[in-house]
């Protein structure tokens, strides 16, 4: 469970192999029924919701000190993730596994290596917890954005079920230690890697041909706002809810909306952009954005200016921004090309759409690279959004305001977790 590496002079490759063997041994030694595993994992997540939990505080601290998020933003993002990680959700997920009912036989999962990444809690926690739920042991390399977070999660599990926690180990090493990454995957049947496309490609080159590497590419999300959602009502407006989805995790996740398609013409889009800007300004007061490094700041600047240049010449375009470009909302002019890629860091565009064809033209470049579509509107508008999500290849249609709380079983690529994706299909009996 420790994250600290042994001194350099120790043969770290041998140490990693020894650790993998030790984990494998622990799997053989004692059986923990799947129902117990699910209960333990659900209990950990339940305790994390308690503000007094020391592990919760440590995770938020990791997101603040290591990932650079503001404390309130880190806590809000963690809570958004936890919303779907209830004990019931863990039990439901476990129900997909054989053995839960005492009838099937549990598959031998073995030790699963993970390269963890991202600045969000889920990609640091779930690969380990899912492996444990499935009956395997997890050996993970912590990511550089929140290096302490996975070890804290394992420590929290030890507090609930020490036997299960002994099946997980987390280590850290620099990205350029290819020998260690190679050793991590050495002999593994399957492993996972989170990170950018370049990182995934680099890891793939280190993984043996017999190992199935599950590397997840970048994805983005959008919101579809129906005309009915623009009508003023009591309660939180669609724009305010969308602002929350954007601000959570500082828009660093694949579920963070980077653009909003607004039905009802350009005036409606401009009005919605104003409301969204107000919502983002409000969120900035509550969940401040992290300080940006120069490269990220340049990306935000370029995104802002791409709209500002058009807005300087055309009245139907607009750019709205917070102090210090704390957030940026851009409205492209009519007839322009597709909106630019959003650099994250609370930047998004708002585009008017008057029909399905226009919506497809606007987001067509992200077809096959869309994680989810948020929707605000009536039943008919939700049907339109569903058709768009289907066309984009997005596997999630979520209410605006809940985009950052995917079901525990949701997967970016739409595949159903656990048994749905057995790596090796069972051999059918030969007649």
């Amino acid at each position: 469970m420790m994250t600290a590496w042994a001194p350099r002079e120790v043969d770290q490759v041998a140490e990693l192999r020894r650790l993998a063997a030790e984990l494998e041994g622990r799997l053989s030694e004692a059986s923990i029924p799947v129902a117990e595993r699910a209960e333990a994992l659900g209990e950990v997540c339940r305790r994390w919701r308690d503000p007094a939990s020391r592990f919760r505080r440590a995770i938020v601290s990791s997101l603040v000190e290591e990932a650079g998020l503001a404390p309130a933003t880190a806590a809000a993002g963690f809570d958004a993730s936890l919303r779907a990680w209830s004990p019931g959700a863990w039990r439901a997920l476990a129900a997909r596994l054989p053995g839960i009912d005492g009838v099937g036989r549990e598959p031998w999962v073995g030790v699963v290596p993970h390269i963890l990444g991202s600045a969000l809690p889920a990609p640091h926690v779930l690969p380990i917890f899912f492996t444990l739920l499935a009956g395997g042991a997890a050996l993970a390399r912590a990511g550089r954005h929140a290096p302490s977070l996975p070890a804290i999660a394992v420590a929290a599990l030890a507090d609930v079920d020490p036997r299960l926690a002994l099946r997980a180990a987390v280590r850290r090493w620099p990205r350029d230690r290819a020998d260690l990454t190679r050793a991590l995957f050495d002999g593994a049947r399957v492993g996972t890697a989170t990170g950018g496309d370049a990182a995934a490609a680099a890891i793939r080159s280190l993984v043996g041909r017999d190992t199935r590497l599950l590397a997840h590419p970048h994805r983005v999300s959008f919101a579809y706002v129906g005309a009915s959602a623009l009508v003023a009502r009591a309660g939180t407006s669609a724009a305010e809810r969308l602002a929350e989805d954007v601000a959570l995790h500082d828009q660093q996740g694949c579920l963070s909306p980077v653009g909003a398609l607004v039905e009802g013409g350009r005036r409606a889009a401009l009005r919605f952009a104003d409301q969204l800007a107000a919502g983002l300004a409000d969120r900035q007061g509550v969940w401040p954005r992290a300080a940006l490094d120069p490269a990220a700041a340049l990306s935000v600047r370029a995104f802002h200016d791409a709209f500002a240049v058009v807005a300087a010449e055309r009245r139907d375009a607009r750019v709205l921004a917070g102090d210090g470009l704390a957030w940026v909302v851009g409205v492209p002019g009519a007839g322009g090309g597709p909106p630019p890629f959003a650099p994250l860091g609370r930047c998004l565009w708002v585009a008017a759409v008057t029909g399905a064809a226009q919506a497809r033209r606007t987001v067509g470049r992200w077809r096959g690279a869309t994680a989810s579509l948020g929707v605000a509107g009536n039943a008919s508008e939700r049907r339109g959004a569903r058709a768009l999500a289907n066309w984009l290849g997005a596997w999630r249609l979520a209410p605006v305001g809940r985009m950052q709380s995917p079901p525990l079983a949701w997967r970016q690529d739409g595949a159903r977790p656990l048994l749905d994706l057995l790596p090796e299909p069972a051999l059918e009996p030969v007649a």
Partner: protein
């Protein structure tokens, strides 16, 4: 007889443009021998600003939106750089559309994914005037002409490439017999390159290899694949420009320098780095230390990307450039490149992201971790 107002206006614009071109050509001709004083740069900048305010709609709209108008401009520092993304979405030109189909138009190389810039030029005279003396000073200070081997398509095959145009001008003005374009497209002709290098090696005539960094990556891969390496004669050198992210496998700058020496026999002190872009008429040059310097008619600053004030000393920021040779469109540009100021030079440290969809992946996949039953 009454002359149509539009024609009168255009005649006036043309007179003004020609006058400015003449003054700018003279300023460039003075070069490093009698460099422009700060007051002279400011005066030219004021006049360029006034000209582009009158004739370049996009620049005018941008400056107006930044609260800048004629009277407030005392020199180049007062003119906000137009974001280079403007060239992707609108026509940035200080001359009318009529007849512009015949005028030179460059498109950015698209080293990053996404829309490409379109740069409209009224003529290429200032471009050539700025190009040659800077190239001679930094890349050819010891001779008048050399055998230039371009890892690029010839200008006729790539009429919208500012790099191909640049190489065409250099071929005419600085190329010795045997100079050649060794590529039909992005990928160099390895056979032709190997033959030219072998010939140079045998004949003891130094060669000058020029190309985009990604073209060199392809060339080195090709030569390496056939186990070829050369000891190019003393005095041989190499000019590389641009990035190669997204164009081929990525290689570190040091890795490239090592390969130049190992496969081409060109040591790091004979490698010249150029920084330019389709939106600029002038170029910056650096040696192996990566510190770029500007010609005397160009000014630059490293700005804090958020507030656009001067970046703190030693801190990275966005590079803003005032290129007096950019008479045809906009002389004040805000690039998408990240730089650090080092005295009178700057180092490039990155460029804007956002060329690909971004967003973390919710990696956790239980499913795939379940294995076959034992």
């Amino acid at each position: 007889m009454r002359v149509p107002a539009a024609r009168t206006l255009e005649a006036g614009r043309l007179r003004e443009a020609r006058g400015l071109d003449a003054r700018l050509s003279e300023a460039i001709r003075r070069g490093w021998d009698a460099p422009l004083s700060e007051a002279e740069v400011d005066e030219l900048a004021r006049d360029l600003f006034a000209h582009q305010w009158r004739h370049c709609r996009t620049a005018r709209a941008w400056w107006r939106s930044r609260g800048v108008a004629g009277a407030s401009v005392r020199g180049w520092r007062d003119v906000p750089g137009l974001p280079v993304s403007a060239y992707k979405t609108t026509r940035v030109a200080a001359f009318p559309r009529s007849g512009h189909a015949e005028r030179p138009r460059f498109r950015s190389s698209g080293t990053t994914v996404g829309a490409r810039s379109r740069v409209h030029l009224e003529n290429v005279d200032l471009y050539a005037a700025a190009l040659v003396p800077a190239f001679r000073r930094h890349a050819l200070p010891d001779c008048d002409r050399m055998r230039l081997l371009f890892l690029s398509a010839p200008p006729a095959r790539a009429p919208q490439s500012s790099l191909a145009h640049m190489f065409g001008v250099l071929s005419e003005t600085c190329g010795a017999p045997g100079s050649a374009f060794l590529s039909a497209g992005d990928v160099p002709d390895i056979d032709a390159l190997a033959a030219a290098l072998g010939e140079a090696e045998a004949g003891a005539e130094p060669v000058f290899l020029l190309g985009a960094a990604f073209a060199f990556v392809h060339a080195l891969d090709g030569l390496r694949a056939r186990g070829a390496s050369f000891r190019t004669p003393r005095g041989s050198r190499l000019f590389q420009t641009g990035g190669f992210k997204g164009r081929s496998r990525e290689v570190t700058p040091d890795g490239l320098l090592d390969a130049y020496e190992e496969i081409l026999g060109i040591p790091p002190d004979r490698v010249i780095n150029e920084y330019g872009m389709a939106e600029l008429a002038s170029q910056f040059y650096a040696r192996a230390d990566g510190r770029y310097s500007a010609p005397p008619w160009v000014r630059w600053r490293v700005l804090d990307p958020i507030g656009l004030g001067l970046a703190a000393a030693g801190e990275p920021g966005v590079l803003a450039i005032w290129d007096l040779a950019n008479r045809s469109h906009c002389f004040a540009l805000l690039t998408e490149d990240l730089a650090v100021a080092r005295g009178s030079t700057f180092e490039l440290v990155g460029r804007v992201a956002g060329s690909e969809p971004r967003g973390c992946s919710l990696d956790a996949d239980v499913a795939a971790v379940t294995g076959a039953a034992t």
